[in-house]
């Protein structure tokens, strides 16, 4: 088990951090009309980051989940408003697991954006598939599709199995987290391609475990950034003639943020390592990570906002963006109750 990053992984981290420092434009999405930061997305694609875990023969980088977690941590730190999680994680993982060769190259290259349609509880979306003229059509809808507002390709999990569609009627939703869009998709006799697999539900489980790790990476990045900005602020903000960071109520809250950050990172490193090197350990590690990082990120973001005082509550300050991202992340995949039940179920098989 390797829980510290090697030199190359650290280099990857600096490269992505530098790229985001130069090109990330969250406010163009939060305050502007853009649905996502298209320029940043192109930069990520040029560096080959959108296809990190896609096999090389399909145009990907053939790297691992540890590397993808490093990238996601940076995206999470920066709240980068790009459809990476939907496309380079959810859609790509499903298509890799299903052995697709047709759409993956375009997703790996970042030429197309993918999204995954499941029910909010991560069961089959209320979509039915019918065979017609030698092909398939989809009818029904999928609520709450992450980045469904900007995606070109929809990977659909239904009671009839897995499908890929490139068309849908979409209604962009107003979101708690303004940096990541969601949409309702509606299918009406929409042509689709079937992706055959012996055990469709098992594919979904695998996708979900990998998504839990990826989401944890975003959360760990977010916690680290909240810690950093809060500590920075506590050093410079003066009240009653002293830097507020010298007051124990503030200092001790920062220490708790640090402790949370270090422990969340430890769980993430193990889960990402398991995704690459120990698939048997992955289901338990993935569920464990989400049970910890979900509430931890939200508590950290709320505490960070609190320690910024009135400034933290203003629209101009980024504190609220972390708060909203953290709560949204915590509520994905059926929410925290569902995460707890999932981990509890996996623990039954352990001890």
């Amino acid at each position: 088990m390797q829980l510290v990053l090697d030199t190359e992984q650290q280099q990857l981290r600096s490269t992505v951090r530098k790229l985001l420092a130069d090109h990330n434009n969250v406010r163009s999405v939060v305050d502007g009309d853009d649905a996502y930061d298209a320029a940043l997305w192109r930069h990520l694609a040029e560096l080959g980051l959108t296809g990190l875990v896609v096999p090389e023969e399909l145009g990907g980088a053939g790297a691992g989940h540890v590397e993808r977690a490093v990238v996601l941590e940076e995206l999470g730190r920066a709240l980068a408003p790009v459809p990476f999680f939907a496309s380079a994680v959810l859609a790509v993982d499903a298509l890799v697991a299903l052995g697709d060769t047709q759409v993956l190259p375009a997703l790996a290259a970042g030429e197309k954006i993918g999204a995954l349609a499941v029910s909010p509880e991560w069961g089959p979306a209320p979509v039915s598939a019918t065979e017609r003229d030698g092909g398939w059509v989809l009818d029904g809808h999928a609520p709450f599709v992450i980045s469904g507002d900007v995606a070109d390709v929809f990977v659909v999990y239904s009671a009839d199995g897995w499908f890929v569609a490139e068309d849908a009627r979409r209604t962009p939703l107003t979101t708690l987290d303004p940096t990541r869009g969601q949409a309702k998709l509606e299918f009406a006799a929409t042509p689709a391609r079937r992706l055959d697999t012996a055990d469709p539900a098992a594919v979904l489980e695998e996708v979900r475990d990998l998504a839990s790790v990826a989401l944890a990476a975003e959360q760990v990045g977010g916690i680290a950034k909240v810690l950093e900005t809060t500590v920075e602020y506590a050093k410079v903000r003066v009240q009653f003639g002293r830097a507020i960071g010298s007051y124990q109520a503030v200092k001790h809250a920062c220490a708790d943020l640090y402790s949370t950050s270090e422990r969340a990172e430890s769980l993430l490193r193990h889960a990402a390592w398991a995704a690459d090197h120990d698939r048997e350990a992955l289901p338990l590690a993935a569920a464990t990570t989400q049970v910890f990082t979900g509430p931890a990120y939200f508590a950290a973001a709320a505490s960070g906002l609190q320690l910024h005082g009135g400034i933290g509550y203003t629209w101009e300050h980024d504190a609220h963006l972390y708060y909203k991202r953290a709560k949204s992340c915590e509520l994905l995949f059926g929410g925290h109750d569902e995460q707890l039940a999932r981990l509890a179920g996996r623990l039954d098989g352990v001890s």
Binding site: V4, K251, A255, R263, T288, F292, L340, S351
Partner: protein, 390 residues
């Protein structure tokens, strides 16, 4: 009457069984030593094995499956020994380290006093020079295993006319000296694992000083650093009733394992336990790669105490009334109650949770320190504990 007293004394001394636990601990430690498994990373010339932390890690992993019976040596092995290795003279190392590793001698740490706990630099125990010797008077408190200890690392004030951190000296003392009185102190579990210790004109030779005269604070900080790593990295006992695996087993035994609330709380506890365990692995891997943990040991110490509290909450949820009363002699009931009652100590001993947070804030995050009022004032003029120094 005095003849009778002698008879009673003699008979009791002959016939009351010795402390079996202590004998077992000593036997076990001696066997470890003979097998070449004691002091794995300690220097060979003083009886250690001279190996690396990788071997230590292997030992820790393997031994985590058992409840090792040698915890009475923890203060010596985790704190006093490493500090002697850091600061001792060659003679001190040669005298004290090998018997410690062999399990011949037990150590205690004589820092805290009634007026000086978190603020240990305010201590009032005095050591006054008399020719070549030192004469010690004063009192220590909460001294773990002092009643079994052969030696102690004593922090005393040798100069009250300079600011408090500058006037301290560390001594290595013989706990069997008649000038040392040890009185057991009952803790909240009803047992007496720690003590009050009194010094009445204890005479120490010049070579009892560890480090330099007046440099006791440096010695104390060195030892406290070892202490945090030792406590933070401490592997839970296999049969600790508050460990997740054992609580899950208890839930099954009591038929509480299908309750969704119990399941959820056990899941949260498992996640917190894993997070801390993996953090400790990371610290070790980083140390092997050349960056020692430094003050990050405080995170492990703090998180460990919090984990313990979380586990008490889950234990109560699972056991319900069974945690409040049990049949006499019911081992499971006793064990759980003891674990519940021991929990507050993890947030106090070895530096309170508040002190750990301050360490993390000051030393890791670089936050501005609190203003201090006593740094440049001669100790004699300070108000300490609940009184003024003598």
């Amino acid at each position: 009457m005095s003849e009778f007293r002698e008879k009673v004394r003699a008979w009791l001394a002959e016939n009351v069984p010795g402390d079996e636990e202590l004998a077992t601990a000593k036997r076990f430690q001696a066997a470890l030593y003979d097998a070449g498994l004691a002091g794995i990373t300690w220097p060979k010339e003083f009886g250690g094995q001279g190996l690396t932390s990788a071997e230590q890690q292997v030992f820790d992993q393997e031994s985590a499956r058992y409840d090792l019976p040698n915890s009475v040596f923890r203060i010596g092995m985790g704190m006093c020994g490493p500090t002697i290795l850091d600061l001792g003279t060659p003679e001190q190392k040669a005298r004290y380290i090998p018997p410690l590793l062999r399990g011949d001698e037990i150590w205690c740490q004589l820092f805290s006093e009634p007026g000086a706990g978190s603020d240990v630099a305010s201590l009032q125990t005095r050591a006054v020079r008399d020719g070549d010797e030192w004469v010690v008077n004063g009192q220590k408190v909460w001294t773990t295993v002092a009643h079994l200890a052969d030696f102690g690392a004593l922090l005393a004030r040798t100069d009250p006319d300079v600011p408090k951190h500058q006037g301290l000296t560390m001594f290595l003392i013989d706990m069997h000296d008649p000038a040392v009185t040890v009185r057991p102190l009952k803790d909240m579990t009803g047992r007496a694992p720690f003590n009050e210790v009194y010094f009445e004109n204890l005479r120490l030779p010049a070579d009892a000083v560890l480090g330099q005269v007046g440099q006791g604070w440096l010695a104390a900080v060195t030892m406290l650093g070892h202490e945090r790593v030792s406590i933070g990295g401490f592997v839970r006992k296999r049969h600790d009733p508050l460990a997740h695996a054992n609580l899950a087993e208890t839930a099954r035994r009591y038929g509480r394992d299908a309750d969704p609330v119990v399941r959820a709380e056990l899941a949260k506890l498992y996640a917190a336990e894993r997070a801390l365990a993996l953090f400790n692995v990371r610290l070790r891997q980083e140390a092997e790669a050349g960056s020692p943990p430094g003050a990050r040991g405080s995170v492990a110490k703090l998180a460990g105490a919090q984990l313990q509290q979380q586990a008490v909450a889950v234990a109560g949820l699972i056991a319900g009334p069974r945690a409040t009363a049990w049949e006499p002699g019911d081992a499971a009931g006793e064990e759980l109650a003891l674990a519940i009652n021991q929990t507050p100590s993890s947030s106090i001993a070895g530096g309170t949770d508040q002190i750990q947070r301050t360490i993390i804030g000051d030393r890791i995050l670089g936050l501005p320190r609190e203003p201090v009022v006593d740094r440049d004032v001669p100790f004699r003029e300070l108000r300490v504990g609940t009184q003024r120094p003598a």
